[in-house]
């Protein structure tokens, strides 16, 4: 069965249409890259899939392993196994990482009809998962993302991904603002978490991240539509030729 099936998705913000008919199919075990020039709708697509209330879906469907994704609340989408690594992770003063993650883990367990995790088990798991992205122990006692550096925030996103073990992860511009070391750690974390059952969507503007996270399929999003789909070589071609030829090709249609 397909993991994610997006059909003719239209969506916008405050009456302005941004996605104008997106089609996308993702199977377990695959890594898809979605590239495109600024303003093409990449972040809107990730927001709409995760259920960001700022966006309104006007047409189309998204089926997530057989479930109607668009009818679910953001938290239920998470419980069903969708994870969004935010381009700008939100700072939540006063809520510690530990409390935050325990609430998230236990909400999911409750959704799945499982007992809450004991404090000891939970802390043990946190320790294990932190290792995936070499996240400092001290960050766990701090407020969510508050005072974190850019690199720490992105590592924290991947750490949460490790804890929640999603079926599908959407990495929205995870490479932006990262230096090469941080990029390597973040990408390493993503690769460690990759299995035959889960899938990843990497949203990025640049080829750079794709050197570390190898995509199976590359899509180019432009003016709210996927205008081009190819193999990993497409990303390299973009790196070389820029986006202009894609724009010209698409604008001709």
């Amino acid at each position: 069965m397909e993991l994610l099936e997006v059909r003719n998705l239209h969506a916008g913000i405050e009456g302005k249409e941004i996605l104008r008919g997106v089609d996308l199919t993702i199977r377990p075990g695959e890594v898809h890259a979605i590239m495109g020039p600024n303003g093409s709708g990449k972040s809107t697509l990730s927001g709409v899939l995760a259920g960001d209330p700022r966006f309104t879906v006007t047409a189309g469907s998204a089926t997530f392993h057989g479930v109607d994704l668009l009818s679910l609340s953001p938290e239920d989408r998470s419980h069903e196994g969708l994870f969004l690594s935010f381009q700008y992770p939100v700072e939540i003063p006063g809520v510690t990482m530990v409390n935050f993650m325990r609430a998230a883990v236990n909400a999911k367990r409750k959704y799945l009809g499982q007992e809450p995790m004991s404090a000891a088990d939970f802390l043990k798991m946190m320790r294990q998962k932190r290792a995936v992205v070499e996240l400092d122990n001290k960050l766990a006692s701090r407020s969510v993302n508050e005072g974190f550096s850019g690199g720490e925030k992105k590592r924290n996103e991947i750490f949460q991904m490790a804890v929640l073990e999603p079926r599908l992860s959407i990495l929205d511009e995870t490479d932006s603002g990262l230096d090469i070391d941080a990029l390597r750690i973040v990408a390493g974390g993503v690769n460690k978490l990759k299995t035959e059952q889960n899938a990843t969507i990497v949203i990025t503007h640049y080829q750079r991240l794709l050197d570390y996270i190898k995509p199976d399929v590359v899509h180019i999003l432009y003016k709210g539509r996927i205008v081009h789909t190819g193999g990993p070589e497409l990303a390299l071609e973009l790196e070389e030729r820029g986006y202009d030829w894609i724009k010209q090709e698409a604008d001709k249609l």
Binding site: P53, E75, I92, G94, A107, V144
Partner: protein
């Protein structure tokens, strides 16, 4: 009933009952005489007070026809005996005030060197002048009706670790007005912690708790006062703190409103000395039709003092919160550093919040600031939490608790700080006015959980 009539009835009652007070100690008689003189002038002020919600104005609060225990009868003393504090490991000198009658528990009978506690009914003659001087500025109605109260004295250079806890309990089938008074006299270089808890066990009985806390912080002394209100929707409360600070002293006042009906808290702090520090903070979680007003006047007279005010309200349902804070920096108060912050969350469509943060500054060597915001929880943070699988309601609760956290984190007294975090969490979880959240745990022992 209009204000003059409401106050007139108390004046008449006291005058008619003078025979009852024949054996009262001189201190109470002097309070009464002073109140009879000053009350008429104050009535007009009460009526004209537009700085608090109408429900919190004194003429409104005192208007209903309450019974008063003028004969100082002991009611249901077993309530005091049955009391166990819900703050775990709280090792304290415990006093219990049932209605308006003061009881000493065994822990308060043997006090350490330098700490003395008396009922105002048997305060030693040598301390009366001090007690009266500290009480100079007090709500006249409280003074008029007072038949008991507590005098706490810490002698020079005595630093008392264990807190003095005063638990106000109310249990009655008839509507009552209970005047309560605590006079705190902290000698030079002394240190004292006082924990005040208000509870009610009669959810259906209208009750007005009139409380006046008078505090003198002598030079180099440190006094911390923590107040927790966890009463009933039928409870109305007028709580007035009057404090003065001498050179290099420190005063910490914190109020936590968890439950109640209509609450009017007043803080009058005179920073007379140089080099003082004052921390004044409060939080309130309001639901249903609860109304809470916090009104503070902090007056800087001495030099090189700093003050911090922080008040937060989370207002749900049809509740109504109000904050009025005034910082006065007099011409003599050079190098004052005063900051005042008020933050509020309106969490329901019908919730209301008024704020009036005021600065009155007559001195140019000053750093003063205030900020007030009223708004909602951060939508982006809510979505972020939801996207991690946390249900929206829980995310809201967590964010509200986080919003309140810094008020509690200000509390240096660790046992209490931890307990308050738990109490606020439970309160936000909707374990409403039930015994399970009540720190008194008079009926069961679940509160320690």
């Amino acid at each position: 009933m209009n204000a003059a009539k409401a106050f007139g009835q108390y004046t008449a009652l006291i005058q008619a009952s003078s025979g009852l007070f024949a054996n009262d100690p001189g201190l109470l008689a002097r309070f009464r005489a002073k109140a009879l003189g000053s009350l008429p002038g104050e009535i007009e002020k009460y009526k004209a007070d537009k700085s608090v919600p109408a429900e919190c104005r004194l003429d409104t609060l005192y208007a209903p026809d309450y019974g008063i225990n003028l004969q100082h009868l002991q009611m249901t003393a077993d309530v005091a005996a049955a009391f166990h504090c819900g703050v775990p490991n709280l090792n304290c000198y415990l006093m219990v005030v049932v209605g308006d009658v003061v009881h000493f528990t065994s822990s308060a009978e043997k006090l350490p060197e330098g700490l003395e506690i008396y009922s105002l009914r048997n305060i030693p003659k040598r301390y009366m002048a001090d007690a009266e001087a500290i009480s100079e500025r007090s709500d006249s109605l409280n003074s008029l009706l007072l038949t008991d109260g507590i005098y706490i004295r810490v002698n020079e250079s005595c630093r008392i670790d264990k807190p003095v806890q005063i638990v106000n309990l109310f249990q009655s089938d008839t509507p009552m007005l209970t005047p309560r008074r605590v006079i705190i006299d902290a000698g030079a270089a002394s240190a004292l912690r006082v924990l005040l808890c208000d509870h009610s066990q009669s959810p259906a009985t209208p009750h007005l708790s009139s409380e006046v806390i008078n505090v003198r912080v002598a030079k180099d002394a440190k006094v911390e006062i923590y107040d927790i209100e966890e009463s009933m929707p039928s409870t109305h409360r007028h709580w007035q703190l009057n404090a003065s600070q001498d050179d290099n002293s420190e005063l910490v006042v914190n109020t936590t409103y968890l439950h109640g009906g209509v609450t009017a808290n007043e803080y009058n702090i005179d920073v007379d000395g140089d080099g003082c520090f004052t921390s004044l903070s409060g939080l309130a979680v309001l639901t249903g039709e609860q109304i809470v007003s916090n009104k503070a006047v902090l007056r800087h007279k001495g030099c090189h003092c700093s003050s911090r005010q922080l008040f937060k309200n989370a207002v749900f349902d049809k509740a109504h919160g109000s904050f009025g804070g005034r910082v006065v920096v007099e011409q003599s108060a050079m190098h004052t550093d005063a900051a005042q912050t008020n933050r509020n969350i309106l969490a329901s469509a019908d919730a209301r919040m008024d704020a009036s943060p005021q600065l009155e500054i007559y001195c140019d060597e000053v750093k003063a600031s205030h900020g007030a915001t009223t708004g909602q929880l951060d939508e982006q943070a809510l979505f972020y939490m939801q996207s991690r699988g946390i249900p929206r309601d829980e995310a809201r609760r967590m964010l509200t608790q986080a919003f309140m956290a810094d008020v509690i984190d200000n509390i240096s007294y660790e046992v209490l700080r931890q307990r308050l975090h738990v109490l606020v969490e439970k309160r936000l979880n909707g374990d409403s006015a039930s015994c399970s959240t009540c720190a008194t745990a008079c009926h069961s022992n679940t509160a320690g959980a």
